[in-house]
Symmetry: C2
Subunit: 402 residues, 2 copies
Amino acid sequence: MNYHYSDRVPESDEDPVGNILKVAGSDKIISFAGGLPAPELFPVDELKKVTDEVYDESGRAALQYSVANGLPELREQIVKRMVKSNIHTTADNIIITTGSQQSIDLTAKMFVNPGDTVIVEQPTYLCALDVFRTYGAHLVGVEMDDDGMKIDALEQAFVANPNTKFIYTIPSFQNPTGRTMPFDRRQKMIEIAKKYDVIILEDDPYGAIRYAGDDVAPIKSIDDDERVIYMSTFSKILAPGLRIGWIVAEKKLVKKFTLMKQSADVHSDNLTQHIIAKFMGEYNIDDHIAKIKAVYREREGVMMDAIETYFPKGVHYSHPEGGLFIWVEVPGDINTQDLFNTCIKNDVAFVPGEPFYADKVIPGTFRLNYSNMTDEKIVTGIQRLGKAIEQTIASQKVEQGA
Amino acid sequence: MNYHYSDRVPESDEDPVGNILKVAGSDKIISFAGGLPAPELFPVDELKKVTDEVYDESGRAALQYSVANGLPELREQIVKRMVKSNIHTTADNIIITTGSQQSIDLTAKMFVNPGDTVIVEQPTYLCALDVFRTYGAHLVGVEMDDDGMKIDALEQAFVANPNTKFIYTIPSFQNPTGRTMPFDRRQKMIEIAKKYDVIILEDDPYGAIRYAGDDVAPIKSIDDDERVIYMSTFSKILAPGLRIGWIVAEKKLVKKFTLMKQSADVHSDNLTQHIIAKFMGEYNIDDHIAKIKAVYREREGVMMDAIETYFPKGVHYSHPEGGLFIWVEVPGDINTQDLFNTCIKNDVAFVPGEPFYADKVIPGTFRLNYSNMTDEKIVTGIQRLGKAIEQTIASQKVEQGA
């Protein structure tokens, strides 16, 4: 039969990034396309131990239905953890979600009517763009520099779009750029949000993975009128297969989130919530995060050195002090798809920049991931990538000359 | 600040059923209000064993990101399981969801534009109504008899609502009524769906929990033109804290579901998917379901006997052959809220019928659950309930006489 979909469903069945990951997944290709945490760092033994304890001590409770806003013990652990980010909150200000993606989805569902504007960084996390589009959002991308969203461009976006519902920002080690917004710019962003009376959705999956430089407190830490919906996740600091994230927001907002959450999936996996709460009670998760940071610092360093050695002059790239990603900008209006194809021929892959842009695409941009790769492969892969960039620039010069 | 919500957000923060469950949750009250499986039946030791094996054999894979449509091993187990319900399908026709609630949510998101009609049983699962309302559905309830939706009323609903997107039905041991639609009526339903070219969302969480009478094959088993979206869950046959359900549908529809699922929560808990796949590989889940059936049959029998003994004459109630619920209809336009209040005074509780109705409410109706209660408490509770019904009828007669 013919199915009559709602307006929320994309016409195409194509999943361009999924296709890239498939191509990049071939054994002989060194792929910097993914965004996976390093699985060798997952604390398997510790998780197995606490899981056994959950089964022994509260197995029947963990396997039963639970409350929509999340296991109280887990919310209490998150309250304690948030203090380290200078966010002082209570368990009633927290709702547990089935990962960050659901936090984004619930927020969009709650705030975006078709035609409402959502302001985003340009580029930004592509699966957030997908969600916002699903709910009919008008997306406005704000130009960035190495310090994140440019504040004058943000102000212009508000002037041009008085129907804006919220700003979506990943202020620390942004996906895809790896850039971090300095504290003074965060202050300016919240001033602008006040001036135009909008909320800020602060997505902070990577903030805890800082391996260089000084901590920058989340925007939520300077939120004096409950304007910021803060979200984070256990995906990068523990394990993404455990689909558990959280939102910190005003209590009455958390009540609304709870109603929407109940309607979305009743509650998040209860066994998993028990496992994580137990893990955080028995272990110091910061000790575990320290191991992640050490490995990612090493890998990012190797990638940076290789980039400096093997990339042609004039290529711009971010210098992240944490997180999982480096953003590359090849000058001269290079065709990113041509570059990608050349890379595949050279057995190396990345994610082209295009899907990360809400509107105006900057050509010649792409994202590199270093979290899930050995040092040797990073060097070999970057060497291949440097060669592919040179080849593509050369062939485009020939074409332009012809 | 003041938050400016989308039209999808209910104005009230009230959760009427949540409030009922809270009132009913007091220690001295015997509550038939919930819908919880019996936790003493959860196979805790077996789940602990297979979980340890998952950690030992594929811990890092189970803790890593996975694919949006669900773990292949789990989908293969579900293919095998579906054969027992006379549904012959493939792993590519299945998508794993974060429980039935998400299956309903994704289906509504994919098909319902604001103003589109969704036809439902009257009464039906109230959290499905919540979801449909969230997406702006126009809800049309179709009158039921003891055999489910009346077919002539269903046809009339289509004539009156040409913009219908789908029929939502729980054909076996329906929530809240416990009623089951006989096979010939299922055939008629699919004929009508063909005639008006709509899809059927078949929600089957309880079908496997039949403890009396003969199996009735799902509507999906006679779906010869891919018109039925079939959904089920591990909540009632294994454990609801493990938030895992599934959808069986046409392959191209599963592709669309996968895009929407990715945008909703990337994928369902991967550790839990591994645990259930392993459990189904090592144990015969039907042996476990047999234990559930034996206990529920016993409890339903005790409740039926108590109802026959203690309820006043003229009260109508369903006679389920499976599932978790009995539906009660007290004649004479009785005020259900008054009855509920009298029950609370008598230390017994149920869920009043009102929230289960899409539109026209039948007064004096309520749902009883027997799955999570000892025989002794069932007898005592039904005795109290019978008394409360008599008191309420008597007081209403006095009022009407005055």
